[in-house]
Amino acid sequence: MGEIRVTLYFVKDTLYAVVSLFLKTAVFFVGIMLVVILSPVLRFPAKPPSAAYFLYQISSHGGESFFAALFLALVSTHFRIIRRPGKKLLSFALVLAAAFCILYSGLFGLGVLFPGPDEDEAWAGIGMPLEKGLVQRAGDVFVWIAETEETGRAGAGPVLVMDRGKGAGNFDVYAEGVFDAKSRTVKLSPGGAEISLADPGVVYISPFLRFFIDDLRYIRSILRPRALLDVPALCSVFSLVFFGFSLWTPAKLSRWPLFNLWFTLAVIWIVFSGMRFLGLYLVPELVLFENFSRVARYLPLAFPAFCGLLLFVAGILGKPVTEWKREMRYD
């Protein structure tokens, strides 16, 4: 009976950390992707998007969304592991292995299942249907289509086009127009002229969020497994996961959990931004020097591993988790 109870606690508090990591990654990924998929409606109204549009968004932003989801899950799992009972070392080791496998296979899988828009331009610009009966605007051009179908011919009604750049008498009337939802262009007839409605405006994203998204995009751009066993990609993924794994050190830094949390998040942000800074600004300078050129390109990926190592050593040298837990009254 006692053995069964010990086993149950082991499963609940040690192995569940891995399950928790899986679940949290999935929930965060779905949440982030939902926002990414819905974000175009911030610019213009839309009907429920098509399946092709979902796929396009996943192929475009799935990588960085998945990476962000995994990292969030990792931080959350760390805080859980150090607070709850269980075999800490085993939990952390399992989480490290699981995070590595999930991230690598996830990035590889996304690359295989949803080829990026740069590889298949046909995906590009999959957009929303036009709003019927409303005047549409794209830059200096205004378009009104009397009757629209979601794709294909725009019915028998006229199409009115106003091009501000033309000078006097800017309104033109066409017998009909064909709207292409993918490219968001209207092909007018007679004449065959095409008008693009692809850019109805720019979504405002706060500079902080934009900065962070740019960090994630950069990291995603250097994390692209080309094959199932792509050694440089394996090393890159391991470097980042190891950094994530080492976050247990700031997670137990003090007896003030709020401080631990904001310090951990700040460390993550600084390391991500540091990678982008190294990759975009420092490496291009260093490769000009012959002695550094071969090493320099690995700097952005070595940076999180280095920071992870520092944190890991600091964690080993610092207060043991058990003692910290006792001070925190978690036991």
Partner: protein
């Protein structure tokens, strides 16, 4: 209030004050190249309030997290006990008051602050434009025009010494030119022709002038009297006698000029009474250029102007810098570019394009109008263009009169013609709402919540997407709800992450405190962006009222969940 409560309130106040000081400092060091002190202050205050409105929620949440993790007493307070409800009441009241203050900042403080900031930038741009125009006018020898530009620029920046010097220089040049002109054409004698004078009044004046041997005025007034009664012999006699006397007296050059001027005034009145309103207006404008102090000319010019405004408007009413040529020096704001459906009658549609709408205190003006009416089969019923327009009582008046003889701007019909009312158009849109729709690029931040709802409804009627307007509405309401609801979340999570130190945490940790607001800014913006996207989708799928109901329900759920988390932490 308990000691913990005082600690929390004090922390919040200190954080707010520090935030304002930091944002003031930030604005002070990032102020663009604004030359003039008064506007620099406006810009700094406007920018500070704008940034405060933007940053206040994350900063406030940081302060709540921080203070609840340090000060909030949790010993002996169970979720079901009195302590829980007392603390809940304290939190609820505090957060509600702070939310109301935030609402006041957004709705009452932010719009004038944004206006101050925009005005500062706009005025500087306008002054620079005016200076360039003044230089250009001086180079062309148009000293009067140059003075006008410089006077306007100086009205915008009264302390600008450089502008004052340029105006003085232009003044001196204009004086020299004026002296030369006066030497050629001597000043006129004042006369006192009054409008609405009777036959007897004119006759009386003519007699008096004749008696004091002012034969020019005698002839002038007698001519008016004669026009009122063609059969009366006295005015005829006075005119004849005055002409005889003038012929005998060999008038000086000055008197001859006066005579000529009087005759021209008469001619102007003839044009005016003959229905040539625009011609009369221009005629009197020429006369007033010649003799600016002549009260008759002033009066007739006013009369001509009043008549003219019944059927048209003056180009000079439009603000100077908006127009790019002579115009009023009134302050204005403008918005650019819209096509909307002005009328729908059965299957017919009338579309209107407006390149620019100018809002002054007096009226709304538009530049570059183009209209087209279509039948459902694509047949063009009429199509016109007009350079200028003015909104008057639900109509767009498109007949504009400039100062020069050839400046008469009326709509040009490329196809069809509606006939009599060709120069005016009934407009369904309220110009204020139209202005709001066009200026939506600024995020509708200077439009009140109520106006936003009305503007959205107006946009739908005009065949323009109301989606951005409703989104602006939700984003504003969202901020208020977020302030209140997330405060409870922050309090609950602050409690969850409370300090386990017996006393205060080590001082070194507080050095990292400035990182907390930045983390919260990122977290809040992720939350904000996510909910905006969801709200945008709901708005598209369900419409305004249903999505508003979902919005309220979601916020209510969040609040409920925050209270649950809080209660759980209290139990622990």
């Amino acid at each position: 209030m308990t000691k913990a409560g005082r600690g929390i309130i004090l922390t919040l106040i200190i954080v707010y004050v520090l935030t304002v000081i930091i944002l003031l400092g930030w604005s002070f060091f990032t102020v663009p190249a604004i030359r003039i002190g008064a506007l620099k202050t406006n810009w700094i205050i406007g920018n500070t309030l704008e940034n405060l409105a933007r940053a206040l929620i994350p900063v406030h949440l940081s302060a709540v997290l921080f203070s609840f993790s340090l000060f909030f007493p949790f010993e002996g307070a169970g979720a079901r006990g009195r302590g829980f409800f007392e603390r809940l009441r304290f939190m609820g009241l505090t957060f509600l008051i702070l939310t109301l203050l935030y609402a006041f900042l957004l709705e009452a403080g932010l719009p004038p602050a944004l206006k101050m900031k925009e005005e500062a930038v706009t005025k500087i741009r306008q002054a620079d434009e005016l200076r360039i125009k003044a230089k250009d006018a001086t180079a062309r020898g148009q000293l009067k025009e140059a003075r006008r530009y410089l006077q306007y620029a100086l009205a915008l920046f009264p302390e600008d010494e450089e502008l004052r010097y340029e105006l003085d220089t232009a003044d001196r040049a204009a004086q020299i030119a004026g002296q030369a002109r006066r030497a050629e054409a001597p000043a006129a004698e004042n006369s006192a022709l009054l409008l609405n004078m009777s036959f007897d009044d004119f006759l009386e004046r003519a007699r008096n002038a004749f008696d004091r041997e002012d034969y020019i005025s005698a002839e002038y007034y007698a001519a008016f009297a004669l026009r009122m009664n063609l059969n009366h012999p006295v005015p005829k006699r006075i005119i004849a006698q005055a002409r005889t006397k003038l012929a005998e007296s060999r008038p000086s050059q000055e008197v001859r000029a006066d005579m000529d001027f009087f005759r021209r005034k008469q001619a102007g009145v003839d044009i005016l009474t003959g229905g040539g309103i625009i011609e009369a207006y221009r005629y009197f404008q020429d006369l007033i250029e010649e003799r600016p102090e002549d009260p008759d000319v002033k009066r007739y010019l006013r009369l001509a102007h009043a008549e003219l405004q019944k059927a048209s408007f003056l180009l000079s009413e439009i603000p100077l810098t908006a127009l790019g040529s002579a115009g009023t020096t009134e302050e204005y704001i403008s918005a650019e570019g819209i096509v909307f459906i002005n009328k729908s009658s059965g299957a017919d549609r009338e579309f209107l394009y407006i390149r620019r709408v100018i809002q002054t205190d007096a009226a709304y003006y538009v530049l570059d109008i183009e209209g087209i009416a279509l039948a459902m089969d694509g047949k063009v019923l009429y199509h016109f263009g007009a350079p200028y327009g003015k909104f008057i009582d639900g109509t767009l008046l498109m007949h504009c009169v400039g100062d020069a003889a050839n400046e008469d701007y009326a709509p040009e019909y490329y196809a069809g013609n509606p006939g009599d009312a060709a120069d005016r158009l009934s407009v369904t849109a309220d110009p204020e709402q139209l202005f709001h729709i066009i200026s939506g690029g600024r995020g509708y931040r200077d439009v009140s919540l109520w106006d936003l709802v009305q503007t959205a409804e107006a946009a739908s009627l005009l065949g323009v997407s109301s989606h951005p307007v409703y989104m602006a509405f939700f984003s504003r309401v969202f901020l208020l709800f977020s302030f209140f609801v997330l405060s409870f979340f922050a309090a609950a999570w602050g409690l969850r992450f409370r300090s386990r130190y017996a006393a205060s945490p080590p001082v070194v940790y507080f050095f990292f405190l400035p990182l907390l607001p930045f983390i919260m800014i990122l977290v809040f913006h992720v939350y904000q962006y996510g909910l905006y996207a969801l709200q945008g989708f709901l708005l598209s799928a369900l419409g305004f009222f249903a999505s508003a109901a979902v919005f309220c329900a979601v916020q209510g759920l969040f609040l409920f969940f925050a209270l649950l988390v809080f209660a759980k932490q209290m139990r622990q």
